[in-house]
Subunit: 300 residues, 2 copies
């Protein structure tokens, strides 16, 4: 099975499990409108790369997919909530996502805000449930890792820095280091924590965790450069959302700083960095190596 | 020391601890604007009744305040995030809260949304930290309890039901049972979980937990009736926010359903229900009994 086939098969399993997790939550007390909005936000397709990374990292340590899928799904809940909030009129004001109306366009702003809040909360509920892992210390650690990656010093903080530059004209020092720091918070933290969560589920050693952190860091950066390149020269129909937004917003990205060719070269370099971090794992890391190639070379 | 003195003294400790918890979070990576908004949202005063309930419930089982204050603070983070989001223009469109501009008025909408997201995430980060409790199974349980109370089947779900009636004219069957169910989600869940969290920290027995759940349920209902009464006949300067909003919005409350006098009688009944749930604890429950009286008789 090729890498893209594995990724697609995994996405089908994850979609089914997300559907189950949202559907069975807390009996019949969830208002229909809210459940519908949560489903719309989460079940709209997507590559499911973050949960895939959790599952594949945990597999390296002998954890079967069934033993990591719930934890994996929580990262997709958080990723999707962040998209829902980022798309709001007061933030990025995006009307199309994955080729269909964003949640606030399909419903309305208040429903989108609350559905995002509910998805974020659901992620922590799932992480804390005994079904996710039999050992409470693993569950508590997962909550801690995921909260740190998603919060004020991670994803949410990165979005604030990004919007400050965008809305308030706070000068974003356009250096490579600044751009890497920003993306490490906004996009990278959640990708990195996918690998860390897999390592926690697999009870990896400290040195294994360090290696996976380096991999996750590089992978997250590669993901963002690829995203910026797609925005700069991708095709809206293939990408599934509006393109050319960064340039028209004057956003500081690696592409605006270095130009397309140099950004492509940097992407190649970061891909290599990700792959070499996996050296200690030998052939066990074959899928994660493929994942790095896929992320760096993706066209949508 | 009188009950209101204890409550005020506890609020000072909680405010200081919240300040510390927001300030020390994840080193220097939190953007200044975000940290400022989080502080504005959380440190604006307030009675701190939810954290007080955590601390006082835990004390009944021999847990000193220092052993429960971090868990207690997380409920205030969640309460404050919910106020920040509820106040947004697309939701309740409130401009004044605790006698000063709401967060979105003081900053802007996107900052308010993200500061709310960050506070919700911070709550789970704190609950999962070893500093909050040495036993990871207690930490995982706290995360689970708090997530269930705050999410789609709890606080967020209640806000959706409330706004559906308000914005979309979805008919809220104006029965006592419906109003109690709605408030049990929107306001009650977080008050009840304060007592449950205290019981979890104190490793209470199942029957003790059941009694405290009944207490928390009744207390939450009393809190909401008192709130509705304040909205109906309170004074804006004393209450610290706009009053008369429910009636002008045509909102179904116990007051609109039964009238002020019958609502007052119901409040008295629920106060008695709360207090009698505490019978198994004898004199250990003195402070929680005072808390029920305070909640039912509050004027702000």
């Amino acid at each position: 099975m090729s890498f893209t086939q594995s990724l697609r098969r995994s996405a089908v399993d994850i979609e089914a499990r997300l559907d189950f997790l949202i559907g069975q939550e807390s009996g019949g007390r969830v208002p229909l409108r809210l459940r519908g909005a949560m489903r719309y936000a989460v079940l709209g397709g997507g590559k499911r790369i973050r949960p895939f990374l959790v599952i594949e990292t945990a597999k390296m340590f002998g954890v079967p997919a069934l033993g990591s899928i719930d934890a994996a799904c929580t990262l997709e809940c958080i990723h999707c909530y962040s998209l829902v909030h980022d798309d709001l009129p007061s933030m990025d004001n995006d009307e199309v996502r994955r080729g269909r109306p964003t949640l606030w366009k399909a419903y309305d702003e208040w429903t989108a805000i609350l559905a995002g809040d509910a998805l974020l909360t659901l992620a922590f509920e799932i992480l804390a449930r005994p079904e996710t892992h039999s050992d409470p210390s693993v569950r508590a650690e997962l909550v801690l890792l995921v909260a740190r990656a998603s919060g004020a010093a991670g994803m949410v903080g990165g979005q604030v820095v990004d919007l400050e530059a965008d809305k308030l004209g706070v000068p974003a020092a356009p250096s490579l280091a600044h751009i890497r720091d920003l993306q490490a918070m906004k996009t990278g933290a959640l990708i990195r924590v996918a690998c860390e969560a897999g390592a926690a589920l697999g009870r990896a050693t400290t040195s294994e965790r360090d290696a996976l952190q380096r991999y996750g860091d590089a992978l997250g950066f590669a993901f963002q450069i690829a995203d910026d390149l797609l925005d700069a020269d991708g095709d809206a129909a293939t990408v599934g959302k509006a393109v050319g937004k960064d340039a028209s917003a004057g956003k500081a990205t690696l592409v605006s700083l270095m130009g397309i060719d140099a950004a492509r070269a940097k992407l190649k370099e970061v891909e290599t960095e990700a792959i070499s971090s996996l050296a200690p794992f030998g052939s066990r890391a074959a899928t994660l190596i493929d994942a790095a190639r896929f992320v760096a070379q993706r066209t949508s």
